[in-house]
Amino acid sequence: MEVLIAQIFNGLSLGSIYVLLVTGFNLLLLVAMIIHFSFPVVVVFSMYVSWAVMTATGMVPLGILAGILSAIAVNVVTAPMFQHIMKKRGSVDINATMVISMGMGMIITDILSHTFNQGFPIAFPDALTGNDKGALISTRLISISRGQVLTLIIGVIFVLFLFWLLYKTRAGRAFRAIAEDPNGAKLVGIPLLKTGLQSYALTGILGGVTAVLMAVLLGSASAGLGDQLGHKVLAVSIIAGLGNLKGGLIIGLLLGVLEAVIQGYLAGSWSNAIAFIIMLIVILAKPKGVFGSSL
Amino acid sequence: MLSIKGVSKHFGGLKALKDVSFNIEDGRIHGIIGPNGSGKTTMFNCITGLLEVTAGNIYLDDKEITGKPAHEISNLGIRRTFQQGKLVPSMTVVENVMSGIFDFKIRDIPDTFFRKPFADSKIESKLREDSLEILAMLGLEKSADRWASDLVWAERQFVQIARAVVSKPKILLLDEPAAGMGPIETQEVGELIKKIKEMGISPVVVSHDMKMLMNIAETVTVLNFGDNIFEGTPEEVQKDPRVLEAYLGAE
């Protein structure tokens, strides 16, 4: 029983990473119609920037700030590129944004793998991870750290906040309108550039915060981390229903727990395959996602 | 030929069609009118199988087609055009028209796959001829090799009609073929529909253009809020007070 509880807590903490990443992914889908399946790679990039600044200056807050700013910068630079392609392509083919996202993923992963720290994994200082302070709760098997609690809470808050922002506010409506039809949005008087930049910056902030939380939670990162997460994030979003923020929250946590339980009770090397098979069954039964797509 | 018996269609709480019945006779032009949102497009979607009916039955030549998959219904000889003017932009006009004939059988495999790579097969050549013929009938033969993405609105509608007609269906459902057209083009559409009738196809026309519709239609069904409120000749329709109120407004 203790094992099960411990695994559920482990799963929730993995799940909260999925939740944050899926939320960022969905947000890009909602405000820019981009299927950015390398979004986790961009997040890992921000982790690296944050680490580089932390090790260079020795100041953790500065590192956090740099991480968030870099995420904003990457988004604000790249999202218009996606949009440009979408505009030329018409609205038929958002699947193809996956391809350009893949290109970005290739570039970033490769840069990470031979510039920062000579390509070796990076480790974040205790001042950020709080590892030296020990766990909040700790029995023989169950262990809950500050980072885990923080990530989960912030994950949930972000989902609720974004839901409110997108569906209940003036800015959110404008974001969604631009995503669906930039030209039409322009004709009804939404300032494209300004609103677009705002929405990309928002995604950037989310990405940056995710990067910092992942640094706290995982304590280290490697160049391949983003790719490892990419497929799962895409899968979670599809299963929950593309663009469904609440669905992403629930399915993200569920997948985390599912994976933890598979790894804990069945063979570890099968966990990916089993997790994907379960997701496959769900997606075949409900092609539009469990909670419905909000596109 | 096509009989609609007690068809209802509900979207959640919204009743888009309520127990609608009418018949479409062979060799006549059948008009459907009704205010916006009265369920005309929904009716078409139900007939062609794109939507499942909530209740009721649809028969083609006394054979029930309710619940059949949409592509089968289409192959039984019911074709349609779309209100939004859907074309495949990456194909030329003539290819768009040719795509109206699908009807692929196993025995077509040799002809399709085992011929010279850069030439048309026998069936293809025939299809192309047929399509060019239809385009000529519409006066669009000069546009045959233009890309569909370059067409203007009125041309898109004509190409849509050509694509539906080329397969020689029994029934052709036209959803607002004259929407967004000027009086002259609208008149052309009217003429075209008459020609289509002469080809042995029974056109069913949804249109808000009363003048055109009343000119060509032989029977008119009037829908209002999903109810079939009237059916008769154009003259009768124009006299009926309920229709006048619902559709034309008291003028």
């Binding site: 590129m81 893949m102 | 859907k86 795509s99």
Partner: protein, 293 residues
Amino acid sequence: MSLPLYYFLAIAAIYILMSWSIYIPYRVGQLHFMTVANMAISAYFAALMAINFSWPFWLVLIAGTLLGALIGFLVSLAIGDAPCFAVVIVGFTFIYLTKTIIENVEAFGGPLGIFSIPKVMQTSSSNRVFLLITAYALVLLTGYLIKRFDRSRLGRAASAIFIDRDLAVSFGVDVKKMGMFLQSWASAVGGMSGVLYAFIMQSISPNHFTFHIVGICMTMLFVGGYSTIWGALLAAPILWGFPLILPEVLQSWNIVIYGVLLIVVLVIKPEGIITRPMIKKLESILLRKKKLV
């Protein structure tokens, strides 16, 4: 023939086939990464049959292709008309599943892989000539079939499905059957490439069939242009070839160059370098010349 040229051409053939295997279902808008799993499965099948049961090459090739088709067909029963995203997930699932199974089953060589897949011909050089001719014969055959498909009712129906399913259905196209056909076909091409790959490389391991193949083939398809078969046909050899001749200073940036190329092409020309109108124009010029002669 020189050895490097042989390997360049032989592997180019595989990339062409694999890019086409993604092109085929993308005709109806489905990104069917399943074919990479088919490639792995048939490569392993080929290796095991050739080593353990001494099956002749032709038998292995046909059986491996059919195996791909069969798996593709069975899967397509469930996802023939599924939306693109569901199909993507199915592809990922099968890639993970295949990799996990071959890594964990000792009979498949486990994580070490399988070595010394036999030659088809007695001597190395005749073996190479034979494999190269076979590979390009298969490229020709596949290209020919795709070309015929594109120029037929089936091809137009597929284009219609790509734009709007309801539209295609209104012509009487069975969307599911079409999807099943294309997916099975693509999986067969994937399987065929796998068999060729096994015999060309002579040893295989789980690490040969990872997502990098998905990435490379998608890059080739989308840089070349996804609206005709010519895009992948031209882009595959070029994209695969140019890192081989890059100067040493740029070598270590070749993946970045790939990525940048992909993005630049998509930004400037979203349909890829070679588009349908271009090919049509070219064909009409060539045909007109013929007529004049």
